[in-house]
């Protein structure tokens, strides 16, 4: 059964990448959108562009993983093709893990492009590579799980887009992407701690500036917890909706 689940996960992810993710508009949107935001901010407040790189990477993973993920399941349920997966010899947690894997693979691919450009421009001195890889992987998992939860929580594609933006946009402005967390009022800092993006930005900042594990472990741990909770919530919700 485990073999069936693992095989199912892999091929569901592969099918999603082929059918939905790796399409020209999706790729260009995934890269351009975060760049446009950062560029707008840099023009408004020119300064240390290097400091914006962790936020740029975090935004790219956030939108790369969750934009399509948030609509894929609800779309497939709408047209009936989700039923094909539910009929297959793949258990529900594995089915959803396959969906997550597709979103993660796309988000990380797009982020890799942004990362290479950033490192080429600003250099890679002091980068903690292991911490960088771990932060990217866990960020992708958390955001993909968030997208999956949005997708199983609603019945219409339009509702999924609305809900995804309702969550992502406040997170984007409070998560330390544009404004350092320390410069925010305490109550806003507390609010920001509820969002996975905050931990993603901090973990990536630590990784890119050679930060120590002592501080990063909290961020990485928080991302792992967000990933697990959102994934379990998505599995539970999908199980309830499919009955």
């Amino acid at each position: 059964m485990l073999v069936d689940d693992l095989r199912g996960m892999f091929y569901i992810a592969l099918k999603d990448l082929k059918a939905y993710y790796f399409k020209a508009p999706n790729i260009s949107w995934g890269i351009l959108f975060p760049f446009a935001f950062i560029l707008a901010f840099a023009i408004r407040s020119p300064g240390d562009l290097h400091a914006l790189v962790p936020g740029l990477l975090a935004l790219t993973i956030l939108f790369g993983t969750s934009s399509m993920e948030a609509i894929v399941i609800v779309f497939e349920r709408r047209i009936g093709s989700l039923e094909r997966l539910l009929l297959a010899p793949v258990r529900l947690p594995a089915l959803l893990a396959g969906k997550l894997l597709g979103g993660m693979a796309f988000g990380l691919t797009v982020t890799l492009v942004v990362l290479v450009v950033s490192l080429t421009v600003f250099g890679s001195t002091g980068t903690n590579w292991l911490m960088l890889v771990l932060s990217l992987l866990l960020s992708a998992t958390a955001f993909s799980a968030m997208g999956a939860y949005v997708s199983v929580a609603v019945r219409e594609v339009f509702d999924a887009q609305t809900l995804a933006n309702f969550i992502r946009f406040p997170m984007m402005f409070l998560g330390g992407v544009f404004v350092p967390l320390a410069s925010m009022p305490v109550w806003l800092q507390s609010l920001a701690r509820l969002f996975p993006l905050t931990y993603a930005v901090e973990a990536l900042r630590a990784a890119l500036s050679g930060g120590s594990w002592t501080t990063a472990v909290l961020d990485v741990g928080a991302l792992a917890i967000f990933s697990l909770l959102l994934y379990l919530l998505a599995v539970y919700t999908l199980a309830r909706h499919t009955e």
Binding site: G8, Y11, I12, K15, S81, A88
Partner: protein, 315 residues
């Protein structure tokens, strides 16, 4: 004879909201489907056909009752059952973005068909379902009939010994419906057990070895088509077509109370000098049986499904 499906007391109850009584979509049904037969599940809309299929394929949990599918317990062995059944839902639901070929390969990947077998098997299925020329066309661009054929092909991709077909010809034109019926008949010849729900009585009559009629969640009849016919209260009728000297035609019918010959003799005595153009024996059809059992006319069934579509097709 080995059983492909054994169902006892299968029940599905849906809650319908506050202050409303629960809906018993399937109400304690019992039946057996033998290996290698085409088993028809007939009934009007809302009778419980799809609810039954959804339970037997693991899409929905029964409220009560037990079922064994291919000798495996539905409650305990669902993953193993899923691996050995093929399901064609009422709506063709493959992936619009994938080509016909890729859809078949994906179906095989999901069910663990060995890598070396996938591509040759996909080619064979495409040829068998007359889709060879549409191999690289996205599913979205196929005609309705082609989509249906490809959905059936995908359900067969992993060689399942049992296939559930939920209203396979609904909405198809006459030619496509006829082709699909030919494909279903071929499945039986290959030893595949087919569980077929349909509202086309003619289809059930042509394809099914045995038929269960379900009404409001209860099975009201289960027999071979011939058995159901003979249980009908209607008797065989002899119909004689007559023509007068001006060419005007008239038909006369008489019930065969004392055999066909006696009925014909009786009709010949009523010709009044007119020419006899034809003599036909009319046996009760499955439609007559259905009307008798359900109180619904066949037309009502068809109109519920949005028109006659494939139901008129021969073959």
């Amino acid at each position: 004879m080995t059983e492909a499906i054994q169902v006892e007391g299968l029940t599905k109850v849906f809650t319908t909201g506050k202050d409303r009584p629960p809906l018993r979509a399937v109400d304690g049904i019992d039946f057996i489907v033998h290996e290698g037969e085409v088993f028809g599940f007939l009934g009007p809309n809302g009778a419980g056909k799809t609810s039954t299929i959804r339970m037997l394929t693991g899409l929905s949990r029964p409220t009560a009752g037990t079922a064994r599918v291919l000798g495996l317990d539905l409650d305990k062995d669902l993953p193993r059952i899923k691996k050995r059944i093929g399901v064609v839902p009422e709506a063709s639901n493959l992936y619009d973005e994938l080509t016909a070929f890729d859809n078949l390969v994906f179906a095989m990947q999901l069910y663990g068909v060995p890598r070396a077998e996938r591509k040759p098997r996909a080619e064979v299925l495409l040829q068998r379902f007359h889709l060879g020329e549409k191999r690289d066309a996205p599913f979205a661009r196929l005609s309705r009939g082609m989509k249906r054929a490809l959905t059936i092909a995908a359900a067969l991709a992993h060689h399942p010994p049992l296939v559930f077909l939920d209203e396979p010809t609904t909405g198809l034109d006459v030619m496509n419906a006829r082709n699909l019926r030919g494909m279903i008949a071929n499945l039986r010849d290959e030893g595949v057990t087919v569980f077929l729900t349909t509202h086309y009585l003619e289809e059930a009559e042509r394809l099914c070895d045995r038929v269960a009629v379900i009404v409001k969640g209860h099975i009201v009849a289960l027999d071979t088509v011939a058995g159901l016919r003979s249980s009908a209260q209607q008797k065989t009728v002899v119909e004689m077509t007559l023509a007068d000297s001006d060419g005007r035609q008239d038909k006369k019918r008489v019930e065969c109370n004392d055999g066909v010959e006696s009925a014909i003799q009786s009709l010949l005595g009523e010709t009044g000098g007119r020419r006899v153009l034809a003599v036909d024996t009319l046996r009760p059809s499955l439609e007559d049986v259905f009307v008798q059992l359900t109180g619904l006319s066949a037309e009502v069934m068809l109109s519920e499904k949005g028109g006659k579509g494939g139901g008129n097709a021969g073959g």
